[in-house]
Structures are given as structure tokens and as C-alpha cells.
Symmetry: C2
Subunit: 151 residues, 2 copies
DNA sequence: TCTTATATTGCAACAAAGTTGCATGATGTG
DNA sequence: CACATCATGCAACTTTGTTGCAATATAAGA
């Protein structure tokens, strides 16, 4: 399991260090993006806050992870599924940001549609975020409603 | 010109105060969204920082302005063109974020296309941001290239 | 295996962004 | 004009992110 991360770091010519492997394993373990504060809490005090910021920055630049901002502007990070690299680092799937649990889902199968932009403007990347209620939170809400049927 | 802002505040049952009118006139004067730091600088020290935050929060809740996050997660604000209100506060046009000057343009004429989201998920709002180089910055770059033709 | 250049980390200190509680002051309605 | 309420200002604080520099770990070569 660790081998996967080690080869990922090697591929990008980054040294294999404990903090970096921790970050990768935390991000990989979840199916949603992880927020900066959560990451900081999960990684604990073994790794310095500054180190974490720097790791996230290099990972993003190398195309290992991508950053998505939630509705509050908080940074969230997820491992890139598609084969990103330094030069071609696109993250052209739609994201879903649940307004209840605040989780961000990468909808890998849903491509961002093309749009026409005004002449004179040149677009390099696009970002599509859908805000609403995720499956888990919908189900929880249903259960809650059902349990109060007698009212 | 002030009448416009005063009636806007009345419409939303907000008291007409000097700080609120300042915010409105600053936002209205520009064709791009204004960042929180810029707003703070422009409004000067006559208005307290905390007051500014609170004004922006109420304006957003009332549907007077909308918030757009730039690529760094910095909050930017623009006056809503469409007739938004507390209950129907949608901002369904595309935004363009220039990576050079960092300005955010509201592309009022360009609607956000619909997408299919996975079953179980319920979408309330969508957000579409295009990142690239705006017209002004493109022209500046051209001029720069031309002036260095002799090289 | 030892040495060494260099990438990476940790620490301290700081800057910026945003929040909370409370007292003061302005607004608008009767 | 009085008064309830909304809005602001101030102080203090939390969170998020950055910078410089010294200490340390990594990887590659002798």
C-alpha cells in the first residue's frame, strides 16, 4: 500500500519523507476532498503546520493533488485521478459541495461542459461546483422526517 | 444617484447608513467584482473593518450582492444584476477570473449550462468560473511583445 | 559504508482574513 | 420627541496562510 505512494513520489522526483506519505495516505483514504483544517487535525502535531502547507503546495504544482475551494473559501484537497503532471494539470470534472456536511465530492465521471466566452478573453481552465445536499445527508434528513411522523 | 441606493436599502428593509451607501457606491462603480481587501482599502478608516464584514454579510443574505471566490479563495463582491431577493438568490451567470490582474468579471449574458448529477444528490446552486486572461491583460501583453520586436 | 550537496522540515515570528461580545450611537416609527 | 431596535465601533481573539533561517534527512557518489 505504501509502495503506491512511494512510486508516486519517485515519479515526480520528490523525496520520500514521512510527512509526505502521511498526507498521501490521508487523502487517499477518503472519497471526498479533505479540507486544510481537517488535514491539519488528522496529521497531528508530528508534522509542522508550515510543512503541511508546503507539501500541499508542491503536490499541487506537481499535479499530484488538486485544490478545490468550498463555499466558505476554505481549501480542500483531493488526489488527482486522471494522469496529471506539471505541464498538463487539469481537473476538468464537476465538484459537488454539500451545504450540510460541507464535504466536497469529485464527480469524476461528469465533465465540465464547454461555454462560449466573450471575444478577447482567453480561458485556460474552468471550474464547476454544484452546491446542494449529498446522498448521505439526504438520507439522514429522510430518516429524521420519518422518525417524527407522529407529530 | 444616491436615490438608487437608498431605495435599494428601503426595498430590503435595511436602514440607510453612511457605511452601507459607501459600500454600494464602490461596488456599483466598477464593472468587475471588488475583493474584500480592496473594499477595505477603498472605504478607508471611516468605516470599521468589522462593520464592513457585517454589511457584506447582510447584503449577501438579502440578495443585494453576491460573493465570488477568486483562485486564491479571496472573497470578491459584486452587485446582483438580476432581481435577487432573500428567497431566490441565484447568481447563475458565468464568472471569469483573470489570472494576471485577478479581476473577476460577471459574464451576465452567459448562463451556466445544466449538468446531470448523480442520483441521490440534490443541487440547489451551481457555480461556474473560467480562469484565464482577460481582454485588457491580453492587449497589454500584445503591446509588450510588439515593443520588443527588435530583439 | 561514509561523505556531501541539496531537498525538506521545524521553529519563530509575522501578516492577513474573519469572528465574537459588548457598549455606544444612529435610525425610524409612533 | 421619546424609545425600541438596528447598526456601528472598539477590543480582543481565532484561524489561515506566509517568510526567513537554522537544523535535519534524503539520495547519490566515492
Amino acid at each position: 500500500m505504501n509502495k503506491e505512494f512511494i512510486s508516486l513520489l519517485e515519479k515526480h522526483q520528490l523525496r520520500k519523507t514521512a510527512p509526505r506519505l502521511s498526507v498521501l495516505s490521508i487523502l487517499k483514504a477518503k472519497n471526498t476532498a479533505t479540507s486544510q483544517p481537517d488535514l491539519e487535525a488528522m496529521i497531528g502535531k508530528d508534522v509542522d503546520r508550515v510543512t503541511l502547507y508546503r507539501i500541499l503546495k508542491t503536490f499541487e504544482e506537481k499535479g499530484i493533488i488538486h485544490k478545490i475551494l468550498d463555499l466558505n473559501g476554505t481549501a480542500n484537497y483531493a488526489i488527482c485521478h486522471s494522469s496529471c503532471n506539471e505541464h498538463d494539470h487539469k481537473d476538468n470534472h464537476v465538484h459537488f459541495n454539500c451545504t450540510v456536511c460541507l464535504h466536497i465530492y469529485c464527480l469524476d465521471n461528469i465533465q465540465i461542459p464547454d461555454i462560449k466566452i466573450p471575444s478577447g478573453f482567453v480561458s485556460h481552465t474552468t471550474n464547476f461546483v454544484s452546491y446542494g445536499i449529498c446522498e448521505k445527508c439526504s438520507k439522514k434528513a429522510e430518516q429524521y422526517v420519518n422518525s417524527n411522523d407522529e407529530e
